[in-house]
Subunit: 247 residues, 2 copies
Amino acid sequence: MNEITSVSNPRVKQWVKYHDKKHRDRDGLFLVEGEHLIQEAITAGLLTALIISPDCPYQFDFDGECYLVSEEIMKKLRSTVSVNTCVGVCKVKDSNVTLGDKVILLDDVQDPGNAGTIIRTAYSFGFDAVVFSGRSVDIYNEKLIRSTQGALFHMSVLKAHLPDMIHKLKQMGTIVYGTSLHEAKGLSTFVNQQKTALVFGNEGNGVSEAILNLCDDRIFIEMNRFESLNVAVAAGICCYAFRKQDL
Amino acid sequence: MNEITSVSNPRVKQWVKYHDKKHRDRDGLFLVEGEHLIQEAITAGLLTALIISPDCPYQFDFDGECYLVSEEIMKKLRSTVSVNTCVGVCKVKDSNVTLGDKVILLDDVQDPGNAGTIIRTAYSFGFDAVVFSGRSVDIYNEKLIRSTQGALFHMSVLKAHLPDMIHKLKQMGTIVYGTSLHEAKGLSTFVNQQKTALVFGNEGNGVSEAILNLCDDRIFIEMNRFESLNVAVAAGICCYAFRKQDL
């Protein structure tokens, strides 16, 4: 265990930079905090360094680099809303991932809490991958990671050009459904197919017409009053309806 | 239009206090902000005072008390995360409300974003009332109100003793379902009844055993992987399944 007490230590300065997307992207590294997420990162083989403060009560089965840091340093590493005593530095997953039979596509979803909750929900219902459009929120945003409750480490999560991805999915025999309030069929009229992709859109604008035009069909969630749903709630309802059928 | 420029004006001091639950409860008043929520409050007949800053671009059809305040005062009245130029003082709704056929009960739900999203979702699916247990988050929490997107003004939302409420609902012929991960039947096996109440629980602990024991039946949402769902997502899936059938 290496001990660090100075906030101007070069390693500390490097880690603090990972609060910023630019540095995460450059180094392919990101931070997670708290016992649960660190355990998940270890299990997934993605933890590269473990950092704990003196009052950390947890034991981790990790044989990589470990650092004991002062409370002052820990404050700089954890997010402002937490009181965690442990932080992990993780490497981003290989982007050369398999998509599987059940895929979620996010067309410019902006809110990290929504995106993280969608990953968590998709994982629970047996989805294999979540694909973010280029202008969606950063996958390694700290609030997003917290909202996934660790599901991020268990499934394929990647950024991609959505039109290319839809083309690829269709070639694989996957039926691609866009969610839309207009010119769409009610969710309850669809039959759950084995190979399904569902597209959810930006909080303000929904799925763009350009993307909807590439989809095989359009779904709307039947509502009694014409109100919009929160995108994570809409995704939950659709993921449940199209959940993986265990064979 | 009355003009106020001093932050120590007694009215300003009074309004600022409504960021705090204690003062909201004492006076039966709460704050909303932004054009959409103020319009909804006017339509619902609950706005008692309208406060705008000089750069407010909106026109409101409101014949009650109006105040033009300095930007400095507006900053104190709006929530820290917003740049709104208008704030309204609203009175809380009469707690002597009708429950209707479709009711949501929240057993110690703590997160204002979750509770607000549940109100928004319940309204979309034709639910008539949302009942908070005594230890749930405050109904008039500012983040909660924002998350409802105005649905708070359109349906019955109240705090009550849940066991008494369940007893009352059963006497009305309403079937009360508790959500639970244990000793429960899959959601897809239930038939949507006209008079339904659904109970959702605390983010960490779910619905308490004491409340579950008062319910007519227990529901679980079928998942492929044993993970918990966010409570607002779980509520969305159940509200959709039990949505009001238009007659």
